[in-house]
Structure formats: structure tokens, C-alpha cells
Amino acid sequence: MRDSPAVVAQAPEHHGPELLHHFARAEQQRDSAALGMWLFLATEIMFFGGMFCAYLIYRLWYFNEFAVGSRSLDIYMGTANTVVLICSSLTVAMGVRAAQLGKRRLLVVLLLLTILFGAAFLGVKAIEWHEKYEKHHIPGASFNVSDLMRENPQMPIDQNHEQIYFSLYFAMTGLHALHMVVGIGIFVVLTWYAWRGRYTPEYHTPIELGGLYWHFVDVVWIYLFPLLYLIDRRR
């Protein structure tokens, strides 16, 4: 029982347009699945929303620390990650189109490409986090930002307040990466089902819902990128 609600209408045993017993018409089942998915995305918006509220309050309180912390992040990796995710959104969108047109092999290729991009994103993220690990910027016992203080003499920062920025940075990107891992898991299952030819132009709801989820995770990153990386890059 995979508990991820992303793939909502499970495909029961037999093939063909799966009409679950309690739905009068297939169209009603598809609409319900879509509404269920959008409501789930609403809960995700509020889930990330709690963190954005903490980010907003602390950014207003400790702007210097946020600016210095944001400057210490590698902007090229951040931009690369955004590009990777947008490409993955493209392959997902084309994948949904392929499913709607019943092109099975194209669908499988596009889904694999999406998983590839997702993995690339996590890879870049891992590199960034490792770099942070080496520079002792991970909040906790071994946290010190004397190097950042030297790099930004004109911006006085407080060690503890800087830890707030980095704890929010790791919390938000960590939660986003976790959603990315779940997304890749879903897409692996979707690729397996697609490979077995289960999705037809009449029935491809799991692909659409998987696509919605993936696009949502991409939108969250579209906001995370400027809010975490581009706080104050001015010379």
C-alpha cells in the first residue's frame, strides 16, 4: 500500500478503462481524482507556507545575516538547479501529452528523462550541501562563519543569527529535496506501469496527477531559488 496520495486512483487488477465501483461515470472519477490532487497541493502550499512565514519574519529581523548567508551560496549551482528542474517540467509536460496521445514508448522515454533530471537536481544539491559541510556552515556544534565575516566586512553579522539563516536554508531545501525524492519514487512506478502499457488515451490519470505533483515541486523551487540565493547579490 504505497501511501503516497499523489497517485490517487489506484489501478485495480484488470486492464481497460478502470471504473471503480463507486463512480457512476469515468469522467466523474477523473474529475474527482483531479480535485483530490489539487486539494493535496493546497495542503502542500500551506505546508511550505509555514516555513515561508518563518523565513519572512527572520529575514525582516536579520537582513544582514540573510544577505551574507545568501551570498555564500554558489549562484551557478542554484541557477543550474533551476534550469534542471524547468527542463524536467518540460519533459513531464510532453510526457502527459504523450500519454494523452497513447504514444507508449515516447511516454516511457520522457518519464525516464524526468527521473534523470530529478536525479541531477539531487546530485547538484548534494554537492552544494557537501561544500557547506566542508566550510562548517551547517548549523550545530561545529558552526562558524568567520570566513563569511572576512568576505563581507561591510556587513556586520552575529554568529547565532547567521545560524538561523542556515537552519532555514537547510530546512527548506531539505524538505524540498525530500519532496523531490518522493517525486522520483512516483515516477519510477509510473514508468514501470507505462512500460507495461497500462496507460491509454482513455485512462492516464496517474500520469496527469504525477505531472501535477512534479510541476508543484518545480514551482516551490522557482520561489526558493530567488528567496534563498538572490537576497542581496549587489556589488
Binding site: 474529475d31 518540460l90 509536460a93 522557482i222 542581496d232 547579490r233 556589488r235
Partner: protein, 98 residues
Amino acid sequence: MTVHISSNKLNVTIWITLMCLTVITATVSFIDLGPFNTIVALAIATFKALLVVLFFMHVKYSSEKLTKVVILSSLFWLLLLLVLSLADYSTRGNVRIM
């Protein structure tokens, strides 16, 4: 969902615009616009998000009004959380915000 199928040409154009916007927002952040840096960054991010939601997620063509209601209401609730907690933080004793 709707039966709408977006053509590949549309997908690719949206993709290109998103890529350009990413590069723009990254480069613009280096130019000193005073207080407008954040506003510009957020505006570009919102525009990109709109592109993804409307086109990639088929919200623009879906006849279903309910989907739009769900999106708008969840964004409104997020706004509630942010604005009302700001009501406390912005009016605290020594004003920390401009």
C-alpha cells in the same frame, strides 16, 4: 482533467521563456536597484510560477472553475498567515521594519 492536449510547440515556447526568465532573474540580482531588487526577483518568480501553473498544469484551458478556486483560496490562506503574523511583528516596540 480536461481533454485539452497542449501542442509540443506551446510546451517548448513556455520552456524557453522559463529558461530566459531564470537567467534574467539571476543576472538582474547583481544590479543594484535599491529596495526594488527583492520586488523584481519575486515578480519574476511569480510570473514563472504562473507560466508553469497555467500552461504546464493545464489550468488555463480547464473548464473546471473549482480548480482555480482551490488554488486561489490556498494562496489567500497563506497570505492570511503571513499578513496577520506581520501585524504583530511590524508593530512591535522598537520598530525593526522600515
